[in-house]
Amino acid sequence: MRPILRAALAALLLATAAVAAPPRASTVRASGGRVALVPPSAPNTAAFFVLHNPGPKPLALVKASSPAARATEVHDMVVKDGKSQMRPLARLEIPARDSVALAPGGRHVMLIGLEKPLPKGARVPLTLTFSDRSTLALELEVRPAH
């Protein structure tokens, strides 16, 4: 085989390995996680938790995914002029050695288009991806959010 072909093949193998490599477990920790209990007829619900970044570098939550819903997004809720407004957040910053809370009436991971109703006590898998491409897999219990 010509050296140039061999190099190309090696590069291809390396690239495949890099893509196929299992995602790195994140240093970010989550606590107090739960999924809000909503009526069976409700099409959406929200997940709440506190994220702690123990590292020396700031990180950001950039993606959330769950098999329980058609789409999973990070949203923020603010009250402006007496009106409650919900908006998607492209990224949620977690400063170095600090925590960020996702809590009822504020930031949450929204599960949009539930595949099936989530009764009290059900467990919902949720995978969070951070700005350093590391991931954190959670399994959250469904219960009244407040």
Binding site: P39, S41, M86
Partner: protein
């Protein structure tokens, strides 16, 4: 230039009215703090009144479902709302559970979905009734909803969310209204205060 001849009472009235007018227009901070601010007050306490929308069983009018001594909790929201709406209705259900049976029976909760694009009387009703037997879910077309929200100085707005799977959201007033049997507003509790305040403010009216 001669001053107009208003007499003592005329001048006193002029001075008093001038001070009131200045307070009304300038609305200094201390007036707002005292809760005497007329602008804030009228914005905060709409008249309310009887209203008609649609529920699972068809047309629904408030005054046909209340009796002497009824207390009605009214909340505007939408069933696709994942956070605030279930939290608010859940907190109301908890507060009702803490009331003595006799008082609880006088309370009704009316959830009005302002998302007329997605919700139907049936979906609003199914959603609300899951929080307890006292919960009624209603909605209406955009005209009916505009009329009712106006009565309560409430607001809602459809906001497109092009980057979200939700496609749009509905901004809405975050208040729980406490109404008498005729729909007149007796009190209003912001949703961020219902956990601490709702029960005692219901008890005051029961």
């Amino acid at each position: 230039m001669r001053l107009p001849n208003l007499g003592f009472r005329g001048w006193t009235a002029l001075v008093v009215f001038t001070i009131l007018a200045v307070l009304l227009v300038a609305r200094p901070r201390w007036v707002q703090r005292l809760g005497l601010d007329p602008g804030e007050y009228s914005a905060m306490r709409p008249a309310g009144g009887d209203f008609a929308l649609a529920g699972a069983g068809g047309p629904w009018r408030l005054s046909e479902h209340t009796t002497e001594g009824s207390l009605v909790l009214l909340y505007f929201g939408f069933t696709r709302c994942p956070d605030l709406c279930p939290m608010t209705l859940g907190t109301i259900a908890n507060a009702l559970g803490e009331l003595p049976e006799a008082s609880r029976r006088r309370v009704q909760v009316v959830f009005v979905s302002v998302d007329h694009r997605y919700d139907t009387p049936a979906s609003a009703s199914a959603y609300a009734s899951d929080f307890g037997p006292q919960f009624t879910g209603l909605t209406g077309d955009s005209l009916a909803l505009a009329r009712v929200t106006q009565q309560f100085n409430a607001a809602f707005a459809f906001v497109p969310l092009p980057e979200s799977a939700m496609e749009y959201t509905v901004d809405h007033t975050g208040l729980v209204y406490l109404l008498d049997r005729r729909g007149l507003v007796r009190d209003m509790v912001p949703t961020d205060q219902i956990v601490t305040d709702l029960r005692k403010r219901m008890e005051k009216l029961l």
